[in-house]
Amino acid sequence: MEGIDKSFPGVHALSDCRFDLYAGEVHALVGENGAGKSTLMKILAGIYAKDAGRILRSGREVEIPSPRAAQQLGISMIHQELNLMPHLTVAQNIFIGREPRRKIKFLLDENEINARTRDVLDRLHLQLDPRTKVADLTVARQQMVEIAKALSFNAEVLIMDEPTAALTDTEIDELFHIIGQLRQNGVGIVYISHRLEELKRISDRITVMRDGRYIDTVATADVQIERIISMMVGRTIYETSPEIPENGDQEVVLEVRSLNRGRALQDISFTLKRGEILGFAGLMGAGRTEVARAIFGADTVDSGEIYVKGKIAHIHSPGDAVKYSIGYLSEDRKRYGLTLSMDVETNIVLAAFKRYLGPLGVVNSSKTRVTADQYVDSLSIKTPSLQQKARNLSGGNQQKVVIAKWLTADTDILIFDEPTRGIDVGAKSEIYRLLNDLAHQGKAIIMISSELPEILRMSHRIIVMCEGRITGELDCAEATQEKIMTYATQRGGVIQTEPTTTGDTEFGTK
C-alpha cells in the first residue's frame, strides 16, 4: 500500500500512508487511538474506499471495492467485534453465502458443509465440532472460527485487529501457536495491537502510525519497546502550557474501594478530592468508561464500595447517583447526554425538572427560562435563542448544554467521559477553561480522556488503566506521555520485556 489517503466528513483520517507485508511474516501495526491503523486496514479489506493511493498485491495494482473482492484476492480481516452469527453453527458460519448445495440448487448439503469445515479445522489442528453453535463457544474459540473462515477462502493476507483484547493468557498462547502455523504456511499476517509486550513475542516487523500518518517501520529484533512508545507518542508541541489551578482543599469527596465487575473491572480503588481534576488515561477498552458507569449506577457491580463525602453510598441506578450529587457526561452526548429534538432550555432543566413544577404539576416556564438564561450566559453557550433545538448546536455548545444540565441538578462530583471528542480546537480550550473554573468552585471532577496531551494539561493526578485494572497513578508533576503509555500497555500490571518461554522456537523473535 502506498500513498493512501482517506477523509471522513470533518476528519482527515489518513494521509500518505504506506504499508508492506511479506509472505510468511507477522507485521505489527501500532499507534495510539485514532492513529488510523484500523482505517488503513479496512481499506485493504475492502470495507472503506481510499481517496488516493495504490494497493499492490504481489506486484500487481488492484482495486478492492468490497469485502468480497478482498476475499477473492486472498485478503481477509478479523474484526475486533467478531462478525459471526451466534445462532448458527460453526460450519454454517464458515460457509455462509457459499453453502454447498445438493443437485436441486435450493437444498443445502449439510453433510458436505460439515465435512469441509472439518477439513479447515483440521488444517488448524482445532478440535471443534462443526455442528456446535457459535453462541456456545468462548470468545477465543469464536475467533478461531473467524480464522478458519478466512483460511477457507485460502487467505494469504490475514489482518487481525486487536485479536488478544478479549483473551486470557492460555487462549493467547493458543492463538499465537496458530499464528505460528499460519506463518509457516506462508500466510502474511497484519497484527494490530495495543499490547506492546506481545509484539516481541509474535512479530517480525513493526510499523508505527500517528495522527493518520506513517511514521516508521522497524525490525522487531532491533528495537526496544521504549523506542516504539516514543514513536507512537511523537514530539508534538502543544500550544499552551498546563493551566492547573491551585489545589488547596484536601477533603476527599469520593472514595471507591475495590470495585469488581467480571473481567471488565478488577479491584478498582481510588479517591477524588474537592476541587481536583482526576484524569483517567488508558487505551480503548481499558475499562475507564466502565468505572464511570459503575460509579454512576448504570451497571451493576459484583463487589466493591463507594463512599461519598465519607459515607457509604448505595448507588443502584443513575437516579441514586444524582441523589448523591454525582453527574455523568457520557462520551456519546448525542445518545446519552441530550434530547436532541428538544430545545436548549428544556435540556438544561431536564435533570432537575421537579424543582420547576408548580403546585399543580405544571412547569413554571418563567423559572426555567431564568435558569437557562443564566447558564447560557455564564457558560457562554452560543445559541440564537433558548428555543433552539439542541440538534442544531455545534459540538462544543452541545457539550456546554450538557454541563449546564448537571450544574442545574446541583452536582458536586462530575464525571466527564471524553469531554472534547468531536469538538474543534477553539471550543476545546473553552471546555478546558470551564473545567478549570468548575474545579476552582470546588467541584470534584473525573476526566476520562484518550488524548494524552489533554490529560497532561488538565489533571492534578492521573490514573492509568489497562484491561480493567489500575496499572499506575501519577502526579501531574511527574507525568509524561511516555510514562502513561508504559502503564497503559501493561498487561496485568507487569511489563514483559522478555519473550515468554514456550519451549517452541517459532515464538522466538528473529
Binding site: 469485502p67 468480497r68 476475499q71 462478525n83 459471526l84 452469527m85 451466534p86 445462532h87 448458527l88 454454517q92 455462509i96 453465502g97 457459499r98 453453502e99 448445495r101 440448487k105 435450493f106 437444498l107 443445502l108 449439510e110 489442528h125 482445532l126 478440535q127 471443534l128 465440532d129 456446535t132 453453535k133 456456545d136 463457544l137 468462548t138 474459540r141 498462547d173 493458543e174 501457536h177 517452541d504
Partner: protein, 333 residues
Amino acid sequence: MELQIAPTIPARRSLFRSDAAQRLLAFAALIVLFIVFSVASPNFLQFNNMVGILLATAVNGVLALGVTYVIITGGIDLSIGTVMTFAAVMTGVFITNWELPVLIGILGGIGAGMFAGAINGVVIAKMKIPPFIATLGMMYVAKGLALIISQLKPIYFNGAPEFREIAMGSIIGGVLPQFEVPNAVLIMFGAAIVASLILTRTILGRYTFAIGSNEEATRLSGVNVDRWKIAVYTLTGTFAGIGGVIMAARLNSAQPALGQGYELDAIAAVVIGGTSLSGGEGTILGTVIGAFVLSVLTNGLRILSVPQEWQTVVTGAIVILAVYLDILRRRQS
C-alpha cells in the same frame, strides 16, 4: 509441533435455558390444558370436539407458519390477517364472478397473498421502511382492497360446490369412516411439514436464521440480504394466501369484513411456540404447538361456559407469560 487443544465443552446450560426448553414448556402447557379440561368436562375429549379444535387451529396455524419466518429474521408481519381476507376475496372473484376452474381460482388466491407479501418485502428491504410500519400499511391496503373488490358483500361459492370440499371434505373419512377429519386439518399439517423442511433444509431457511442472528455479518459475508428478505416476506404472504383459501372454503364464502386480528393470533402462536422476537431462533414445531395451545384454551374455556370476554383476557395473559419466560431464559444466558 502440535499444540493439543482440549475438545470444546459447550458452556453448561440448564434445561430451562436450552433452546428446546420453550418448546417443551409450550408442549407441557398443552398437555396440562388437555388434562385440566378433560377432568373438568366430559365433553372435552369427545371426538367431535377434538375435530373442532383441529379445524379451529387450521387457519391460524397456517398463518402462524408464515409469520414464524419473518419473526426469525427479526421482523414482523401485521398484514397477514387482512392479506388472508384479500386472498379469500380474490378466490371468490376468480371462481364465482369470473367462473374460472376451481384449481385456477385457488392458485390465483394464493398468488394474491404471495403478491402482497412480495410488496411487503420490497418496501422493507429496498425502501428501508421498518417491518412494523410497512406491514401495518399493507394491513390497511389489503383490508381496503378486499372491501372494494367485494363491494362490501360476501362472495358465495354456491356455483362451485366442490370448492367447499377443499376444506370441509374428508379424504381420511373416505378410508376410515369413523375418523372424519376435515381436509383443512390435513392441509395445515402438510403445510407445516413443508414449512419445516424449508426452514431447516434449504438455503432460504439458512439465510432466514442468519439475517435474524446478525444481519450486518450476513451482509458482509456477501449474502444478498435484501433479496432474501423479499423472499421471506413473499413466503409469509403465500402462507396467508393458503390461509385465505382454507377460510373461504370452510365458510363457503369470502367474508370481506373478516380477518383483522388474525395476525395477532398468529403472532401469539409463534411467540408461545418459543420463537424469539429478537430473531435468530425458532421452530415450526413450536409454532404448531403454540397454535394448538391457543385453540385448546379457547375451546376448553367455552366448554366450561367461561364467557368469551374472559377467554380473551386469559389468552392475553398467556402471551405475556410466554414472552416473559423467554426473557427470563435470555437473561440467564
